[in-house]
């Protein structure tokens, strides 16, 4: 009997037992769908974190204070206050460094007429506009002069405008708002970036760092310093330059640890990516186990099916079916079940992950690799778990099989 006829015979047997075939496939469907969806969600999370980190600015270096270490008690990173405006002044713009911007921040109550909102106030300098590629919808950004003169000016994110006036496009440039009862003049509104997660640039007020330190915080602290390298190739040069400058400024002797940290964006990216990849593998692994369980389900049903159809096997053998004909018939049944289940599972997993993406407001991405792997895996499961029942059927003695009641 040729292969095509074998497939036809197997399909007919599966169609004769529709409910059972569907239930058998369910295990594989759920397994494959789970693998596809989980890996898709994991990949989506990786992509969204990557884009968030990249959205923080291009070729970005972040300098943050080191940790206090008094009497062996480690205060954790950022627990000391070692960065000052003098440090910022010492980092010179040159071939490696394109822009520098210190950041200090506070949360404050903002009032305008009858509207009020609570938002974060970011104190920085004009360099921030370059580093973060800030785009203005209306008005202008702060200038060096604003910073030098501690001008009470503020640049608002569109969400802040909406919270104050009920409409993100309302006219506000030139008006006076009160931040913790200190009047500021609004000089511009940034365009909406749609960014979410930590540090939304839409729900934020930016003001000169000198003004924020003097009027809102009362201390001359710098939370961190952002530096933009002139290009990716200068990242390391810039990092070395800054480290040397700050060690000299902080009078750290050779051999002693830094009291600050210079992090580059690529390091952060690598850390986050490895975390999410581990998560993806974990999710995929759990889903893989359900795929394995589905395969065992196929074997179980095929074994029952072989026993139930003992007489049929006997008849087929009596009228001339060879062992390989019987083997192929049952093997094809198992493989068809798992491949069909795999196909439906891929479709469901695809739909499921995009639904989950919509519900969780994150992008998901199905990689072709995971589709091929899941499909190949389910076909493999059909063969592996189909061989045992099929061999059992093929090895039957025709006389015993015919006598079976």
């Amino acid at each position: 009997m040729n292969f095509l006829e074998s497939i036809r015979v197997s399909l007919r047997a599966l169609r004769a037992n529709k409910l059972r075939s569907a239930l058998t496939m369910l295990g594989i469907i759920i397994g494959v769908a789970a693998v596809i969806a989980m890996v898709g969600i994991g990949n989506g999370a990786t992509a969204s974190i990557t884009s968030q980190i990249q959205g923080m600015g291009s070729n970005l270096l972040t300098i943050s204070p080191g940790q206090t270490n008094s009497g062996g008690v480690n205060g954790g990173s950022g627990s000391s206050n070692t960065l000052t405006m003098d440090d910022v002044a010492k980092i010179k713009i040159g071939t490696a460094v394109k822009a520098v911007a210190p950041i200090t921040s506070a949360t404050a109550q903002v009032v305008m007429g009858s509207g009020n909102t609570s938002t974060s106030i970011n104190g920085t300098t004009e360099g921030y506009e370059v580093i973060k590629n800030v785009a203005m919808a209306r008005g202008r950004y702060m200038t060096k002069n604003d910073v030098d003169t501690s001008a009470r000016v503020a640049v608002l994110g569109p969400t802040v405008v909406e919270n104050l006036l009920g409409d993100a496009n309302a006219s506000i440039v030139g008006e006076i708002i009160k931040i913790n009862n200190v009047p500021f003049q609004v000089i511009g509104v940034t365009t909406a970036t749609g960014s979410t997660g930590f540090q939304s640039s839409d729900d934020m007020i930016t003001a000169p760092i000198t003004t924020v330190q003097a009027r809102l915080i009362g201390r001359k602290t710098v939370r961190s310093i952002l530096v933009s390298a002139s290009s990716e190739t200068f990242m390391q040069t810039a990092q070395d330059e800054i480290t040397a400058t700050l060690r000299k400024a902080h009078k750290i002797q050779d051999g002693k640890d830094n009291d600050f940290r210079v992090q580059n964006q690529a390091d952060m990216l690598a850390t986050m990516t490895s975390v999410t990849q581990t998560l993806t593998m974990l999710l995929g692994g759990i889903a893989g186990i359900s795929l394995l369980v589905g395969g065992i389900g196929i074997m179980n049903i095929m074994l029952v099916s072989v026993t139930e159809r003992t007489r049929e096997i006997g008849i087929r053998k009596a009228i001339g079916a060879k062992s390989t004909d019987i083997l192929l018939q049952f093997l094809i049944e198992a493989v068809v079940l798992s491949i069909l289940g795999g196909g439906i599972g891929i479709a469901l997993g695809y739909g499921g992950s995009s639904l989950a993406g919509k519900a969780l407001k994150m992008s998901t991405s199905i990689s072709m690799t995971s589709v091929f792997v899941a499909f190949g895996f389910s076909a493999g499961i059909g063969i592996i778990f189909g061989v045992f029942p099929a061999r059992k059927a093929a090895a039957m003695d025709p006389i015993d099989a015919l006598r079976y009641e």
Binding site: M1, N2, E5, V9, R12, A13, A16, R311, E312, G314, I315, R316, K317, A318, I319, G320, A321, K322, S323, T324, D325, P398, I399, L402
Partner: protein, 242 residues
Amino acid sequence: MINLKGIKKIYANGDIQVAALSGVDLHVGASEFVSIMGPSGSGKSSMMNILGCLDTPTEGEYFLDGTDVAKASGDDLAVIRNRKIGFIFQGFNLLARTTALENVELPMLYAGIGGKERRERAISALQSVGLGERIHHRPKELSGGQQQRVAIARALVTNPAIILADEPTGNLDSRSSEEVMAIFQRLHALGNTIIIVTHEPDIAEFTERIVRFRDGHIEGDEIVENPRIAQAHVIEAGGVAK
């Protein structure tokens, strides 16, 4: 056509060895119509299994249509069953979920015959047993007699060297039994070699030669002088010429 020499079949049941057949010699020529009779335990079922190449003898020679099949292996036996033997069973043994036509096509499927020829030959075989109208019915939609006629069509569709029937009328009423025997007589008249295993003497009377088994050997082998003529009630005209 069939030549058996010194056939022995011994079943080992633990330490005890049971000889189902203890040295059987039998010759059946082409176009003979033979019935094998005997009480249960006489060895006629073992004989049937060996004749049908479902089983091989422990000892002895078996030539079927010129080929030595006594020592053939599993898959070779399957090919021999497919090409040279047409089986008919007491319980019909049709595939329940497939139509009469598909059941008759089945042996040709394993013989590797193409779909169009398969269908044509299956239809003409069904017509020759009077079931030309019911080819798309499933076994459970047919009467016992009709089911056995489907089984006969399946047995003769490959033009086998011998047609082997194991208690073909055991599950049928007397009217259907006579119809089935009428078909056998007609197939015999067309030149087919037919062997029937039965324990009913009045069925054996329709054949031309009776071989009696007892305790694993042949007790008697006689020619039936005037075989009874089976009355066909519903058989259509036409048939498959050998």
